[in-house]
């Protein structure tokens, strides 16, 4: 995991406020040109992590290495990071051009170079006609682009994005997300972005870091987090999962507290209390009379047609429930009525089992 040649490396980063750790022992290596998205519910420590990297918050412990040099002790103005703030944080008393060149003037670049870079980034974010305007004369989307241009102009070592899309209209978000991603790729910039929005994270990231309660829960690609969640939190947060508590009584028999029995797809050596994670869209509905042996039978408690799929809520005899999404328009799909008894199946790749210590349990090789 910790490659020695990583461009940005965060080691054991911790920020304590009194007895509580806002960020606890975060380890992360980022390759050059990679876009890493820190994702998690509010208060999970993702923003604090970003502010630690920017230098606005002083780390209690840990190292922040860029190309091997430790930045953790440097003040923010020596870190050469480019940050885009959630509120954009444009200088209200300066024009667009003055905002963008602020960092260049701080670096005391020659006038000709400043003018050249200004033209370059204005072109990039398509704001050439707005150069002499003040921030208050711009729309939210334009202000956001000025903030991005200002960060890009200094050619930062790392681009930091704090919820950059959260103040934009919903219909603008997608196009701006694409734009940011294109600019970041074109400039070959290494970037850290913070968001609480899963869709945003999924579309923007090369890799995701899912955090909760100050700790990293899982680092990986979209697919890894979705298909191989390391713990129930990841399974529930990314794309939602049914989390069913029960007991492994046999290699492939999972008994719910109410007595209902599910036949698992994999075979397990462990026994005792476990949590089964199943994605609603990976569970299939059958007539109870179908030839394929079902994994379980259940009763339809509720069925809601939501366009792309029908949203079923199934109840097991004796208690326990399961959400299930059946695509509409699929061959053989028929609406089940409330109260009907149905059979359900899923395959081994869609099944994920967690032990009582929340760690994922692997199935035996077939």
């Amino acid at each position: 995991m910790m490659s020695q040649d990583a461009y940005l490396r965060i080691e054991g980063l911790t920020k304590a406020y009194g007895a509580t750790n806002a960020v606890q022992d975060v380890n992360l290596s980022v390759n050059q040109g990679e876009m890493i998205v820190l994702l998690g519910p509010s208060g999970c420590g993702k923003t604090t992590t970003l502010r630690l990297v920017a230098g606005f918050v002083e780390a209690t412990r840990g190292r922040i290495l860029v190309e091997g040099a430790d930045y953790a002790a440097l003040p923010p103005y020596r870190r050469e990071m480019g940050m885009v703030f959630q509120s954009y944080a444009l200088f209200p008393h300066l024009t667009v051009a003055q905002n963008i060149t602020f960092g260049l003037r701080m670096r005391k670049l020659p006038k000709a170079e400043i003018a050249r870079r200004l033209d370059e980034v204005l072109e990039m974010v398509k704001l050439v006609p707005m150069a002499e305007r003040y921030p208050r004369q711009l729309s939210g989307g334009q202000q956001q682009r000025v903030a991005l241009a200002r960060a890009l102009a200094v050619r930062p070592k790392v681009l930091l994005l704090d919820e950059p899309l959260s103040n934009l209209d919903a219909n603008l978000r997608q196009s701006v997300a694409r734009e940011i991603r294109q600019l970041q790729k074109a400039a070959g910039l290494t970037a850290l972005m913070v968001t609480h929005d899963q869709d945003e994270a999924m579309t923007m990231a090369d890799r995701l870091v899912l955090m909760s309660e100050g700790k990293v829960q899982q680092i990986g690609s979209q697919e890894e987090l979705y298909e191989q969640p390391l713990n129930p939190f990841v399974a529930r947060f990314i794309g939602h999962s049914n989390l069913v508590a029960g007991e492994l009584v046999d290699a492939d028999t999972f008994r719910l507290p109410g007595g209902a029995v599910l036949k698992l797809a994999g075979r397990y050596t462990q026994r005792g209390p476990h949590t089964l994670a199943l994605r609603p869209e990976r569970v299939r509905l059958h007539q109870p009379t179908d030839d394929a042996p079902p994994r379980a039978t259940a009763r339809v408690e509720d069925a809601t047609y939501v366009g792309g799929h029908v949203d079923y809520l199934l109840g097991f005899a004796g208690g326990g429930s399961l959400a299930l999404h059946e695509p509409t328009g699929a061959a053989g799909a028929a609406r089940r009525a409330t109260g009907e008894t149905v059979a359900i199946t899923w395959d081994g790749l869609s099944e994920r089992l967690f032990g009582s210590d929340e760690a994922a349990v692997a199935a035996q090789a077939a």
Partner: protein, 288 residues
């Protein structure tokens, strides 16, 4: 401001046509209260202006005629030039000095975390809680005691007056600048640091320019508070040098003629012009 009230009155007029009874009476009540408030503020001013054109040497009602000649006699008002000059000089100096103290103090109070921050805050605002008469008397007693011991003349000097006025202007500067700073987005200063500006540069290039409106408002309040102060100043003037409001007060002790009214009108006009001039640079409706 008057235009805004006109709009509001119009708004309530059109609401009367479509609105229901309760809404209508509520709007009428608001309108009536506003009229009362405007009257309370403007009637004394209008009355003063009205009196300043009475022809009679003693203010009587109804006047026997009208004249603008009192305005030609402004120079005859005792100590008019000296009093106005002293007041402007003291107010300007007190404003400048209180900005030099208050602006850095408010930045420290809002942006830094240090031991004794709460104490400093209370200390800087405390003169607001003490009546001007008490401050004036206290300062006078202190000055006399110091004079007796040091044999150095203090009472009645402009310097002492300026220092005393600093006591009553600084709390206003601190209050307004603190309020202004609290509503500024802190991440703007972080953005400057992120772009490579060291702390001093952030302060000079970002924080202070963003505080411009608060500083102008603070200067304005400080100037007016100093210019119109009577109760504290009464204890600190010498017979030779008096301030403008005190010259009006002294005049009124012996005479009540339209000349004093015209003097007050001129003073009001000067302040109003000052406000209008500042309003061109900083929208006062935004800062006060």
């Amino acid at each position: 401001m008057l235009k805004g009230i006109g709009d509001l009155a119009e708004g309530s007029g059109s609401a009367a046509i479509r609105g229901n009874g309760a809404q209508l009476s509520a709007r009428l009540l608001v309108g009536a209260l506003m009229l009362v408030a405007i009257a309370l503020m403007t009637v004394p001013l209008l009355m003063t202006a009205y009196m300043s054109v009475f022809a009679d040497g003693v203010v009587t009602f109804p006047p026997s005629g009208y004249t603008l000649s009192w305005y030609g006699k402004l120079a005859e008002f005792p100590k008019f030039g000296q009093a106005l000059g002293t007041s402007l000089k003291v107010a300007a100096a007190a404003t400048l000095l209180s900005l030099l103290i208050g602006v850095p103090a408010s930045i420290a109070l809002v942006r830094l975390n240090f031991v004794g921050r709460g104490f400093l805050n209370v200390l800087l605002l405390s003169p607001l809680t003490v009546p001007g008469v008490v401050i004036g008397l206290g300062l006078y007693v202190l000055l006399v005691e110091v004079e007796i011991r040091s044999e150095f003349p203090l009472t009645g000097s402009d310097g002492v007056l300026i220092l005393a006025h600093l006591l009553i202007t600084t709390p206003w500067v601190v209050r307004l600048c603190v309020a202004n700073l609290m509503q500024l987005d802190r991440s703007i200063e972080e953005a400057a640091a992120n772009l490579g500006a060291p702390p001093g540069r952030v302060l000079w290039s970002v924080t202070l320019p963003m505080m411009r409106q608060g500083i102008v408002a603070a200067a304005l309040f400080a100037f007016i508070v100093s210019f119109e102060n009577i109760e504290m100043t009464l204890f600190l003037i010498s017979p030779g040098t008096i301030t403008f409001p005190i010259s009006v007060l002294q005049y009124l002790e012996y005479r009540f003629d339209p000349l004093v009214a015209s003097v007050v009108v001129v003073q009001t006009a000067v302040i109003a012009l000052l406000l209008l001039a500042i309003d061109r640079y900083v929208k006062l409706s935004k800062v006060v």
